[in-house]
């Protein structure tokens, strides 16, 4: 079954950690720097998540995302460096433009936080099969129906793409021109979308029946096909991660 996913097979340490732990890490890597709003904390998490990207051997695949968002970050650097409200100390000049220290620092803070989030999410999605993540969530008590909705969306998109490809071939085989001027393409739209919609309606009905005969709506407690042996330290890790979150909240309240 084809899946819409960025997961890549591998055997790094992070591939062996269970999905929930990784998901917890993502949440904490995003929340803690917000709760304790200092540049040091942001930097600390940025360093941790960057290290994890390397441990997961996902740097090459993360790089395109990083470089794409760098485009946005650079404009932030420019705008804040030039126009930040608290700008006082000039840092350097570029032609007629004066960049200020405060603005640049502020923008750097934003950049570090964004890269931190990207890295943390990258660690999760590059080392976790979506189906494993969903199954883990269902095991934790998420409704199987919601789990099914997520996993079927990930499956249906590639499936529909391949159906559309076959339809395209079948209609081309009957002399339908699909390339060329705009009117030609517009005319080709209905012969393509018609069977695609009908096919997906039919398969939805059939899928619903197939699920039902296999007891999808059964109220009994469900068992799972895969008992994935994850790292036995995952419980320890999870407790540690939650502890970090709790500590950061307490810290914030005390230091108010």
């Amino acid at each position: 079954m084809r899946y819409l996913s960025l997961y890549q097979e591998g055997n790094s340490l992070l591939h062996k950690i269970d999905p929930i732990t990784k998901l917890l890490f993502v949440i904490i890597a995003i929340l803690v720097p917000i709760i304790i709003n200092t540049l040091t904390m942001a930097l600390a998490f940025f360093i941790i998540s960057t290290l994890l990207v390397f441990v997961a051997r996902a740097f090459k695949r993360t790089l395109p995302i990083i470089s794409f968002s760098s485009l946005v970050i650079i404009t932030v650097l420019f705008i804040q460096g030039l126009f930040y409200l608290k700008n006082q100390t000039p840092f350097f000049t570029l032609g007629p433009f004066v960049f200020y220290k405060e603005g640049l620092l502020y923008a750097t803070g934003i950049a570090i936080r964004i890269f931190n989030i990207i890295n943390a999410v990258a660690v999760l999605i590059f080392t976790t099969k979506p189906s494993d993540l969903i199954e883990a969530l269902v095991k934790k008590g998420v409704s199987p129906k919601i789990g099914y909705v997520f996993s079927s969306v990930l499956q249906i998109i590639p499936q529909m793409m391949s159906i559309v490809d076959t339809i395209l071939d079948a209609q081309k085989a009957r002399g339908l021109e699909t390339e060329g001027s705009f009117t030609k393409r517009a005319k080709a739209f209905i012969p393509l979308i018609g069977p695609a919609v009908l096919n997906s309606l039919i398969s939805t009905k059939e899928r619903a029946m197939a699920l039902e005969v296999r007891g999808f709506n059964s109220k009994k407690k469900k068992t799972f096909l895969n008992e994935v042996p994850y790292n036995k330290y995952s419980n320890v890790l999870q407790v540690a991660l939650i502890a970090i979150l709790v500590f950061s909240i307490i810290w914030r309240i005390i230091s108010w």
Binding site: T166, A170, R174, L176, I190
Partner: protein
């Protein structure tokens, strides 16, 4: 020999370094041809290449002299028609007649002529009484006949059928056999992919066995079915009649029931 299709050193790969078809050279004349082989042998890929839906990774295919790399699939559809396995991949009109007319309208532009062709094709597959029904109100086997009619109505010189006998009962099978015979009489080249060996034995003059991207056997259907050892290698069975004949200890390769009956009658007289 009328050369209709020429395939020269054809290789094709979907992914780099993984060739589905390896250096195939073939010439098709007007002899009706069956392509058989295991799933994944490259049969559907091969006919998609003939049809121009895929372009060769290396090598050339000439359909009536046109190189498939140089002309569009829509242009080729005047000369070569391909009936897909699943009729649901193409049906979108509200009536059977309109559905069948879609192809001819694309290449003819003359509505009257298109309608005439469509009606003729529907008569050929025995659906003339169901012309104004919505295609989805028909069963799968009839829908499959609709998809065959919608290619036949375009009147190409070459017609390729991909697994036409799937989901057909005896009646449907007979209709398809008759359609193929009729097309043969009209001088058209019919190429069929199938897993039904009895169907191959009964209808087709030439048989090509594909196995892992190469041609294992190619020739007269009777000659092909007499190479039992090679067929076994491609995990193919003999037609039922031939199997029965073998069990009866008959050395000849018999292909149809009639042949077997005649053979037995003749031998009884001799004994």
């Amino acid at each position: 020999m009328d050369e209709v299709i020429r395939v020269q050193n054809l290789s094709f790969a979907y992914k780099q370094d993984y060739e589905v078809l390896k250096n195939i050279s073939l010439v098709f004349d007007k002899k009706s041809t069956a392509i058989i082989g295991q799933n994944g042998a490259g049969k559907t890929t091969f006919v998609k290449l003939l049809k121009g839906l895929l372009k060769p990774t290396s090598g050339e295919i000439y359909i009536k002299g046109y190189n498939t790399k140089e002309v569009s699939t829509a242009f080729l559809s005047k000369y070569i028609g391909l009936v897909f396995q699943n009729p649901n991949d193409q049906i979108f009109k509200n009536t059977v007649l309109e559905e069948v007319m879609f192809g001819p309208l694309n290449i003819l532009k003359d509505k009257k002529q298109a309608q005439e062709n469509a009606i003729k094709a529907l008569e050929m597959v025995g659906l003339q009484d169901k012309m104004h029904i919505h295609p989805y109100d028909l069963g799968l086997s009839d829908r499959k006949l609709v998809s065959i009619a919608s290619i036949v109505s375009m009147d190409p010189d070459i017609i390729i059928l991909d697994e036409p006998t799937i989901a057909q009962d005896h009646k449907g099978n007979t209709i398809i056999k008759n359609v193929i015979k009729e097309l043969k009489e009209k001088g058209k080249l019919v190429i069929t992919i199938t897993h039904d060996m009895d169907f191959v034995a009964e209808i087709f003059e030439r048989t090509i066995v594909l196995n892992e991207g190469i041609i294992l056997l190619d020739g007269n259907t009777r000659e092909v079915f007499s190479q039992q050892e090679i067929l076994k290698k491609a995990y193919l069975e003999l037609p039922h009649v031939a199997q029965l004949a073998k069990k009866l200890g008959i050395k000849q390769t018999l292909l149809t029931e009639q042949e077997l009956i005649n053979f037995l009658k003749h031998n009884k007289l001799n004994n």
